[in-house]
């Protein structure tokens, strides 16, 4: 076709080279690339010169040197005699731990508050609205300082600790709460739980096949719930039901027994969950409002009960609207966990900051933090993209 046109002389004449959009485009692109590469090269040249002059070491060799600083709380074994690399790992696990816990709790709080704002109950809707409007409009850093100040300064010493629930104490040393005494039975309970979850998959498939073949419904939800509670429960009772709790009790100037979390961790988690929860509440509310009311009316006309209407008609459509912005909230919660450095929780940034102050190797330290956060961001967004694909509208 084209060759024919060319041979017939119908194609427009080629413009002069400096007016040809292709050549022009390529020239601009090359110029831009050269400018960017040139500036980066200039900066790196300066950096190498400065580093050489100031006798700062380069490279990641420092990771194998002794860190010689203590870390307040750690999920893995650590002592000041360990290496910087190990300290970094402690920071990474702390960041991941608080971010994972924060994401789960913020989702629960946000969903409840989003639903509460849509509730027909005036009091509940108003309370949820006050929560959202208050905490969304105050900087997270300030909220962290507030919770930390509340736990650290305003809270009494352990001797006069506030008892907020039976055996749960809040003092300026943190929050102490009872935990079950470790027992091998709990391993079996956990195993039974996993088995129950795995059993539900074939059960659902069988129920769907039977409904397609016979039209008879099977109460998958109730049976599944029974499995999830029943199997671990059976394992627990079969193991002799070890109910012993280790409760915190005052010994001297602090609590012993039970378990406790530091004021820093509590403040960070509280702040992250309460702040992100407001945004998730708004996302959930908008998602549910985005589902056309006609869909609900149609579901009612088909005779679905309110629970079924929510589960089978409204929620699947709302999730489509909810998941993408929810992903960015999860990402920002994870990134915001870096504010831990301001209240002294040893997260990744705070440990890297100490490392940079001790070794002077700012470039390596910041590169490592950035790499880790980029990797986490990438991991969360690809996981959420997979989930999004599962709930997205499948168009024919």
């Amino acid at each position: 076709m084209t060759s024919e046109e060319v041979s017939l002389g119908l194609a427009p004449p080629r413009p002069a080279p400096w007016r040809d959009p292709k050549i022009r485009g390529a020239a601009y692109q090359v110029l831009f690339l050269a400018a960017v590469v040139g500036s980066i090269a200039f900066l790196i040249h300066n950096m190498l010169g400065n580093i050489g002059r100031q006798n700062i070491a380069t490279g990641f060799g420092f990771l194998h040197k002794e860190a010689a600083f203590g870390i307040g709380e750690s999920l893995i074994e650590y002592s000041p005699a360990d290496t910087y690399g190990r300290a970094f790992l402690v920071g990474l696990t702390n960041t991941l731990y608080v971010a994972a816990l924060g994401i789960v709790l913020a989702s629960v709080l946000g969903t409840l508050m989003g639903l509460a704002r849509l509730s027909g109950n005036w009091l509940i809707a108003k309370l949820a609205q006050i929560y959202v409007e208050t905490f969304r409009n105050i900087p997270l850093l300030l909220q962290l300082f507030f919770w930390w100040g509340l736990l650290n300064q305003a809270a009494p010493p352990p001797r006069q600790a506030w008892q907020i629930l039976p055996d749960v104490f809040v003092s300026n040393r943190g929050v102490s709460f009872p935990v079950p005494v470790a027992s091998p039975v709990y391993k079996w309970v956990a195993l039974a739980f996993v088995v129950a979850v795995l059993l539900i998959v074939p059960l659902r498939r069988w129920a769907a096949r039977r409904q397609a073949a016979t039209g008879r419904q099977f109460p998958t939800g109730w049976v599944g719930l029974g499995l999830i509670i029943g199997l671990p429960g059976a394992a627990f009772i079969a193991g002799g039901a070890p109910l012993a709790l280790s409760t915190p009790a005052l010994h001297g100037f602090n609590f012993s027994g039970g378990s406790s979390v530091s004021p820093e961790f509590t403040a960070l988690l509280l702040g992250l969950v309460i702040y992100t929860g407001t945004f998730i509440a708004e996302i959930v509310r908008a998602g549910i409002l985005a589902v056309n009311w006609g869909q609900s009316e149609a579901a009612m006309a088909l005779g679905l009960r309110p629970g079924q209407r929510m589960r089978l008609v409204v929620l699947p459509q709302a999730l489509r609207v909810i998941v993408p912005p929810l992903t960015s909230q999860y990402l920002s919660l994870t990134k915001n966990s870096s504010l831990a450095v301001a209240i002294g929780f040893p997260d990744l940034v705070s440990i890297a900051n100490t490392t940079m102050n001790q070794t002077g190797q700012a470039v390596e330290g910041i590169t490592m933090i950035m790499a880790v956060y980029l990797f986490i961001s990438l991991a969360i967004s690809s996981a959420m993209n997979l989930y999004n694909r599962a709930v997205a509208l499948v168009e024919r």
Binding site: Q29, G120, L127, R136, I138, P139, A154, V349, V363
Partner: protein
Amino acid sequence: MADITQDVPVTTQMPPRRSSGVLGWLRANLFSSVFNSILTLLAAALIAVAVPPIVRWTLIDAIWSAPDGHACHGGGACWAFIREKVRFILFGRYPMDQDWRQIAVVAIFLLMILAACDRRLWGRRLAVIWFVGLSAVFLLMAGGVAGLPPVETALWSGLPLTLILAVVGMLFGFPLGVLLALGRRSEMTGIYIPIPVSLDMRLHWIHVRPIRSICVAYIELVRGVPLITVLFMASLMLPLFLPTGFTIDKLVRAQVAFILFAAAYLAEVVRAGLQAIPKGQIEAADALGLSYVQRTRLIVLPQALTMVIPPLVNTFIGMFKDTSLVLIVSLFDLVGATEFALSDANWQGFAIEAYVFIAVIYWCFCFFMSRYSQLLEREFNRGKRR
């Protein structure tokens, strides 16, 4: 034919439940079902438990004036601390005798924000107002002219610093963000790079667009890391990257970090607007013979930017809240100045009072702006609503 008589006695029926009045409202909104009644009672219990202690702490047991911190430890809040420190919290380390300049700066900022909310002023007039306003702010802050004693940037603090960081960050980040968004959507022909793909060294030409790739890489990189790392980079790494003997002021470094950070977020907001422009608009512009710059300036951007004004306001609210992070690179913004005020040995242990006080300031700004963005959203959607 049977007689039309009724054998079944008519049962007397209760009148329908009232749906109006106080009782009707209560029934409809608080006790419509058993579940709702339980929720209402639980919420009422929560309020009964939580509100009285808070009211007692903030108002009834509060101490409103005290000579020093030791006389201020009662059961309630010590608002005397705020009375004592309000000047420092708001204006920080700025010279005490120059307070009128700080008050003027805050007033100018408020007027600028109010002017920006008036849609009749949108356009060239607003640009002039903002240019004049910002120039006045910098003259007042820095001094050194018209008999004003000069004040170095290290002493700029408190609310004026917070406002400067947020407004300048947004103002300079915005054009950069627009450029990044245009770059990310650039369709300009790129360069062809040959790579050998098979054993016989046959060349495969791949098309790369450096402008687009660099814009995407920048946006995703900055959005993928926390603001703290960008601030750390500006405060710890930037000095290393500069030629020897060349130093930049600490405030300027933080401000640059803020601008670069804001630009990446603004770019994504603008991109959403660019994507929403129907292709016909661009084709029509091309058919009229407009160049890329003319098309972008006259056709694409005016429509795209109008569409994204509400999310732009939301981004600004986020930026305003994020300015508090400069405390970590030891600048004394509103939060930083408060922390400094809390370190006074004569007034120990009033952190909660101080945080509540500045939280109210932040809240007022953010709440006002978010209400405004909701209003705009409603106005813009008026044509689409039925």
